[in-house]
């Protein structure tokens, strides 16, 4: 029997070897998939002594076969100029190189995430399909299309870490948003955990980039709260109402430690700033003890880094609402585009803090109608219901 974990760990390593030997990324990915299929068939009686060496040999042969059938001339070139030297398997870490192929800016985020999960994450197409709640054939096509797009692109060495970080961030966000909802029952693939695993791998291979470490810290500082984000009946619990004893303190400690190391390099970026905000929330023993003035300072930093980002401006307005009062926060919200997601919910929250419960209820109702997830819809509806029930002067 072959271990799924072993194959998952080996997949990106084999791919890395082929790409480093000069195989183009798309052809190499095809060859690795074919080698994996052969391994599943051939290793029933037990894996070879050197599974990595076996897979490299088979994948390289598959790659050469494909080249041979594609073009005899190309084959001669490959055989002459790219035949690998004999010797032990290489141990260079190719994580960033491979991730930058999968997260090429020409791909849509959804395609990049799918390709990353397969080529670097080592997941099967079926597992990825379950994570996205689409048929396997659909996911297979999405990955093929992504590879066709890549086939026509030029690559820089070693590739752009920014687009990689963005894709990993979106992968985490998607997994985090779905956790606890019905997607939990839908598959065995935890996208948030996969994103953390890949970012951890990337941080280990490029520890000199504080934004990579900052992103890992950000993910861990959010992931630490996952057990408290939904109550027993599956309802979304907002940060302020979460049972903080259910937060994962070991993960928080790791996130804070990573963040401090990243910040010490004195090259601030958006992920480090967001991680700092998450760390301040995680650090408060209760919602009342949240250090809002310091959070606001970090939002000011963040707003300076990603100037003009309305989502950051909206979250900053909440911090302003806590530091300078809800009316100051509302003043900022009113300047933001009316169709900005969660704008109504933030305005409702600030109106309630300012004592205008009727307006808060109206805005929570509007926010519920625009919600794009069941958990969020139910949560916002209940906020409106709570305000409508308890009348204009009752305490929250």
């Amino acid at each position: 029997m072959i271990s799924a974990h072993l194959l998952r760990d080996l997949t990106p390593q084999i791919l890395g070897v082929l790409v480093r030997r000069g195989a183009d990324f798309v052809a190499a990915e095809d060859a690795v998939q074919e080698a994996l299929v052969e391994a599943v068939r051939g290793w029933r009686e037990g894996a070879p002594d050197d599974p990595k060496g076996w897979l490299v040999t088979v994948a390289w042969r598959k790659f050469l076969d494909a080249r041979r059938s594609a073009s005899a001339r190309a084959l001669r070139e490959v055989a002459v100029t790219r035949e690998p030297p004999a010797g032990p398997a290489e141990h260079t870490d190719d994580t960033l190189l491979l991730l930058s192929r999968c997260c090429h800016p020409a791909l849509t985020p959804a395609s990049a995430i799918a390709l990353t999960l397969r080529a670097v994450g080592g997941l099967t197409t079926a597992q990825i399909a379950r994570a996205f709640l689409v048929p396997e054939a659909t996911m297979a096509q999405r990955i093929s299309r992504a590879k066709r797009t890549l086939a026509g692109q030029r690559f820089e060495e070693p590739g752009d870490a920014r687009s990689v970080l963005r894709v990993l961030y979106l992968m985490f966000d998607q997994g985090f948003a779905g956790a606890g909802g019905k997607s939990r029952a839908a598959g065995d693939t935890d996208l948030a955990a996969e994103a953390i695993r890949l970012t951890r791998q990337l941080a280990a291979s490029a520890p000199q980039d504080p934004e990579i470490v900052g992103l890992l810290a950000l993910m861990l500082l959010h992931h630490a709260r996952r057990a408290a984000r939904f109550d027993a009946s599956g309802d979304l619990v907002p940060l302020a109402a979460q049972d903080r004893s259910r937060w994962d303190t070991a993960t928080i400690a790791e996130g804070v430690d990573l963040l401090q190391h990243a910040l010490a390099r004195d090259r601030l970026g958006e992920y480090q700033a967001q991680a700092a905000i998450a760390a301040l929330h995680d650090d408060a023993a209760s919602a009342e003890e949240t250090d809002w003035p310091q959070i606001l300072e970090w939002y000011d930093e963040l707003a300076g880094i990603v100037a003009g980002n309305p989502v950051v401006a909206l979250n900053r307005a909440v911090a302003v609402g806590h530091v300078d009062g809800p009316l100051a926060g509302l003043h900022l919200v009113e300047k933001l585009p009316a169709d900005l997601p969660r704008r109504d919910a933030v305005a409702a929250y600030l109106h309630e803090r300012a004592g205008d419960r009727a307006q808060a209820a109206r805005l929570y109702t509007a926010a519920a109608e625009a919600a794009t997830s069941m958990a969020e819809h139910a949560h916002l509806l209940k906020q409106a219901a709570r305000l409508n029930q308890s009348g204009p002067s009752a305490p929250a």
Partner: protein, 136 residues
């Protein structure tokens, strides 16, 4: 076995039962929780009987869209006018008979609403087109 679509409408369909008239934000938060838990229980019960296929809820926003002609962008009409029928979501079940489909729809329609009373909500029940039978 035959598949049925149980459609829930935001608007449209026969007149509402008085129990279903209050808007959800006028219920108490506990009544909303009880309603959602009931819907989850219906799905679990159907799953246990081997009849559940899928259920999805839709965001109320939407538009009608059609072909705009050669080289032209799609034509849209919307958002939906207040008078138009509006689908809120669906459940798909795979059951032995039409009677059983109706029974499942009635169960779903008995979900509690304001003051914990059953909503008597109308659900549209539509059989799927199946495959041609090989047994004559």
């Amino acid at each position: 076995m035959a598949k049925y679509l149980l459609l829930k409408h935001y608007r449209g369909g026969p007149d509402k039962h008085p129990n279903a008239e209050a808007r959800m934000e006028q219920w108490t938060p506990e009544e909303i929780t009880a309603h959602i838990e009931f819907m989850g229980k219906v799905a679990d019960d159907l799953r246990e009987r081997g009849e559940y296929v899928d259920s999805q809820a839709l965001v109320p926003d939407g538009e009608f869209v059609r072909y705009g002609g050669e080289g032209k962008p799609p034509v849209t009409d919307g958002p939906f006018a207040e008078t138009k029928d509006l689908i809120a979501g669906w459940m798909i079940i795979d059951v032995e008979s039409k009677e059983r489909a109706h029974e499942a729809a009635a169960y779903l329609s008995s979900a509690p609403g304001k003051d914990g009373k059953p909503l008597y909500e109308w659900l549209e029940v539509r059989p799927f087109m199946g495959d041609p039978s090989c047994v004559e």
